[in-house]
Symmetry: C2
Subunit: 605 residues, 2 copies
């Protein structure tokens, strides 16, 4: 069906009008009372849309022209250089429908920096070169150049995108992808409105400054973030600075995000976190939240007062505006799992028609105890696939890889390692090296499938903390079923183990189980949830704990699997999986240009 | 002659010991009295070297392994991220002998930034791909990658090197190249010791922050530098900061450079300037300086009390330590041609055996009047080729190109233009595009050889300041003689015209003349100095003036000709010359990888 047909045009126009307005919070009516006609039209349109059944509409192609720049921004009132997309950080929301093809023409306008954007949660089936992982699936986009990312969004749900080169994600290069159901298909839960909330933490140092510290002797950690951001807005206490010039508390860029709700209505909040470091607890003062989606999978609903969310995760929660409508409420995010040194991130849950900036009469919560691992583990375990939407996992796996997560040193530099190997990727991206059979591009020996289970004490600092730098990869038999057991351990600090949110590219995996302590090879596998495990793309590994995953190696390509903490990934906390490389189609030359792929091919006569 | 032969080993070891110690000021003996043996050995060695005649020694290959990193440095006491080579800014000095081959393996360890280094003043005869001009003669070196620059230093003299990609030069990526005469050949002047002084200005903002301002609406200029550096050392007044944390006046990195002299001895000072913006006046309190070399050419000696030096220029001056030896003297650099807002840059001219840090009893000079254009013009005109070393220019030229220098706007953005064209280079570097005949890479139309001479009023702001963005190039007939007349004009500010130091890659040119006002086509050419013009690679264009150059288009390649002010070049103040492209040898694939040169070439069976 072509877009010139009237019914489609009506649909598109109505849909875009209403949905974009709602999802991006760009509705002026509620926050600006002068414009009340627009929202009514929007609501009518949206309602009309929901009632109609356009199941015959074919998948469309959605075009985005994005320009990446450095710009001065003040997301938390402190002015610093941020990486923007079309002038914005967070960048524009990609709003599409299941089955659509997304085409993003990404123009790199940075002066000297390359760039790459990863479409987090999109599996890139048939398009592994569009995964956007600099050094893994593509050469990065050079200054002045353009790359076209083209991929299909094949599953409805809430996803994100972000820079995946250097530490550019935390420089502001991130945003949301929302994939709606096909026409005529309904969600298994009901709500009135859809809202998008993206969470981040924010540093005042540049990513180059942070990376320099991380790769120095003595090691300088990035430290706790200066602010927490909700939809790109935070509030740094400018009075902490003796030179307040760069910090202006009245800058509208750092006025808190306002989520306006109509009393009695139910809101689907699509919440994503792309923090550089922080695990967060999200809370709406006085309101229950029903968790219904995680990383694009339906969740057997459960109610929380605070939602734990780790970097790389997305959730949908349903919230009913059922509290005293005469006041506003705090939306808060707080750091958990690390001793917090960052103020609570704030937004306003604004009951219409209260003034959107009317401060709630209460003190914002500082969240749960930061070191209450038990509570966080419980919420992880509570996530199950929704009845009626269970994709049952294979009951057995063909291979199990145990990855011991350790903090290490190499030549005196601080690193993170898996089974004692810390990843440094080669100059020729893995995908190209494997497809073109460039066996000299990286070490062809396989990394180990396990560690010294018998004698390694995960509760103690390792006797020898030294690791090895490696660019080896795990090559998986195509269509095999693979288990990954992430095993946490003590860091180089006595009595310390950290939370690592692990993200797998190109796949969703079943989360088979979590446990505390050392994974027991003979017994823990028997406790796996093989009945209704949730499928996710990002999962926490809790301090001193283990997390077990299962996935099918059925997506031809090369896929990163890594800790989503930006500094941990930078310090080598990643592995690489290859599967079905021989089934990958011809690579576009546009992803080449680095390592062994520098040359000019004269056109054939 | 192989380096394993004893005489060579002796020579090399002695030479390197003495010369490196002296030229780089790393001699500890004079500044640290505990180590007096070493200097004696060094002196003896150097004297022995000078007396010997190793004229049979063949040209050698000198290998350098350089790693480029970001590191925190405090060159003016203020701590900021700088780009370093092997941990240093300025980088290591390249010390070679005429005819040597230099091989620099440049490893880019930056996280997300590409890099390229230009060997300023080295003509790259036969190796145009080693010129190091990012986007012009090579794709830049990507993070994690290495490029081997290989070139012959075919003329003795004082040169520099520096980043030539984005605005990385001013981030600290620069250094000195010294090419000594062949063995057995003497300089036409005598001196006892050789010292190297490299000048720079220094900003506290990063180059990304500066570039962002330059490409913003409203335009934010980089402004005057915070400090002036002599051999990488300046002194910012930390008390100007209310947050002094990043500024530490006692940091040894910003202790002033000390040039220790033995009373009665004559010193050759090799002085180079690589300022981002500032034209400088260099002075040694109470000491005359005899100018003997400029950009590698011998100068008919003349005496100055202050030396004007523009970014991209080098000079050798002879200074005799003939003043009261009981005290030290200030070495000063001051901004000229722009109203100074930067403190005088200071170093200490230390008479042995006074304590090197003993402050001179006088107030440092603030230099000549900043707007005394007449005096600066006079010094420019005073530079002539030395008798006995005159390379007479062709008496006529085959082509004259007049370049009107104007400040402009394009779509509201501030730019600089030549004949109303502001250069934006293509994604495929010119050298590759021309050699591979990629005619779609840039606009094949020629840029104009002149402007509207008759009616353009160089003393007024142009009626229409708008320029056009262009990537056109001047294609020169191989072996033809080309004249360039640089014509200055009023900027977009009433009663303002700036100084532009113009630098030509791949050549030295004859400086035929300077004048004030509009160049007169019918009469000014008759006043050219065709008898003993100096040959240079960088030349100032004075406010409201003109400068006439002549060169022979006899070096196959593609060569940038541009204003050496970093921000002006960034804003488009450059043109490109092509000559003899068909004579250029096969390009190494290592310089490719950008624009149209992304692919993997399978090795031929």
């Amino acid at each position: 069906m072509s877009s010139s047909q009237p019914i489609f045009r009506l649909w598109t126009s109505c849909f875009l009008q209403a949905t974009l307005d709602y999802l991006e919070g760009q509705v002026h009516l509620i926050t600006s009372f002068a414009n009340s006609t627009k929202i009514v039209i929007g609501v009518a349109c949206l309602l009309k849309l929901r009632k109609n059944n356009f199941s015959t509409v074919e998948a469309r192609t959605r075009h985005y022209d994005w320009e990446v720049n450095y710009e001065y921004k003040s997301p938390d009132c402190y002015k610093k250089l941020a990486i923007t997309i079309n002038g914005r950080t967070p960048g524009p929301t990609i709003l599409a429908q299941q089955g659509d093809t997304i085409i993003v023409k990404l123009q790199n306008n940075l002066l000297t920096e390359n760039v790459a954007i990863h479409w987090h949660g999109i599996r890139q089936i048939g398009t592994p070169w569009s995964d956007g992982t600099g050094g893994f699936t593509q050469c990065p986009i050079q200054p002045g150049e353009k790359l076209i990312y083209k991929f299909v969004v094949d599953r409805a749900g809430t996803y994100t995108y972000h820079g995946h080169y250097g530490m550019q994600r935390e420089a502001g290069l991130y945003g949301t992808i929302i994939v709606l159901l096909p026409n005529g298909v309904s969600e298994p839960f009901s709500y009135d409105y859809d809202r998008n909330i993206i969470l981040n933490d924010w540093y005042h140092k540049s990513s180059d400054e942070q990376a320099t510290g991380l790769s120095s002797i003595p090691f300088v950690f990035v430290g706790e973030p200066q602010s927490l951001l909700i939809n790109g807005k935070g509030k740094y206490n400018c009075s902490l600075l003796t030179t307040p010039g760069a910090c202006n508390a009245t800058n509208p860029q750092c006025s808190p995000h306002v989520l306006t709700v109509v009393p009695g209505k139910t809101y689907r909040l699509r919440i994503g976190s792309l923090t550089a470091l922080s695990a967060l607890s999200f809370e709406i003062e006085g309101h229950d939240m029903t968790v219904v989606e995680a990383d694009g999978s339906y969740v057997e609903p459960f109610v929380v007062r605070n939602l734990y969310i780790y970097s790389g995760e997305t959730y949908s929660v349903l919230v009913k505006a059922n509290q005293d409508p005469s006041r506003n409420y705090w939306i808060t995010i707080n750091v958990v799992s690390r001793k917090p040194a960052t103020p609570t991130g704030l937004a306003i849950f604004n009951y219409y028609p209260n003034h959107p900036q009317k401060p709630p009469p209460t003190v914002p919560t500082t969240g749960p105890l930061w070191n209450d691992t038990t509570s966080r583990l419980a919420q992880s375990i509570a996530l199950k696939a929704r009845q009626g939407f269970i994709d049952t996992p294979p009951l057995t796996s063909d291979r199990a890889i145990v990855l011991l997560n350790t903090q290490n040193k190499i030549d005196g530099y601080y690193k993170w390692a898996l089974n004692n190997l810390s990843l440094t990727f080669p100059t020729t991206p893995y995908l190209i090296a494997l497809k073109e059979n460039l066996t000299d591009a990286f070490d062809q020996n396989p990394p180990p499938d396990g560690y010294d289970f018998a004698s390694y004490d995960i509760y103690r600092v390792a006797k020898n903390v030294n690791a090895t730098s490696s660019n080896r990869i795990y090559r998986l038999r195509f269509n095999s079923t693979v288990d990954i057991i992430l095993q946490n351990a003590n860091t180089m600090t006595v009595n310390n183990s950290e939370t690592h949110p692990w993200h797998l590219h190109g796949h969703e995996f079943w989360v088979l189980g979590y446990g505390m302590g050392k994974y027991n090879m003979s017994s823990d596998g028997k406790k796996y949830n093989l009945v209704n495990p949730i499928m996710k793309n990002t999962v926490p590994l809790h301090p001193y704990g283990w997390t077990a995953l299962r996935f099918q190696a059925n997506n031809p390509g090369v896929w990163a699997f890594h800790c989503h903490v930006e500094s941990h990934f930078y310090m080598g906390m990643a592995v690489v999986f290859e599967e079905g490389i021989e089934k990958v189609g011809n690579l576009p030359s546009s992803i080449m240009g680095c390592g062994e792929t520098k040359s000019y091919n004269r056109p054939r006569p």
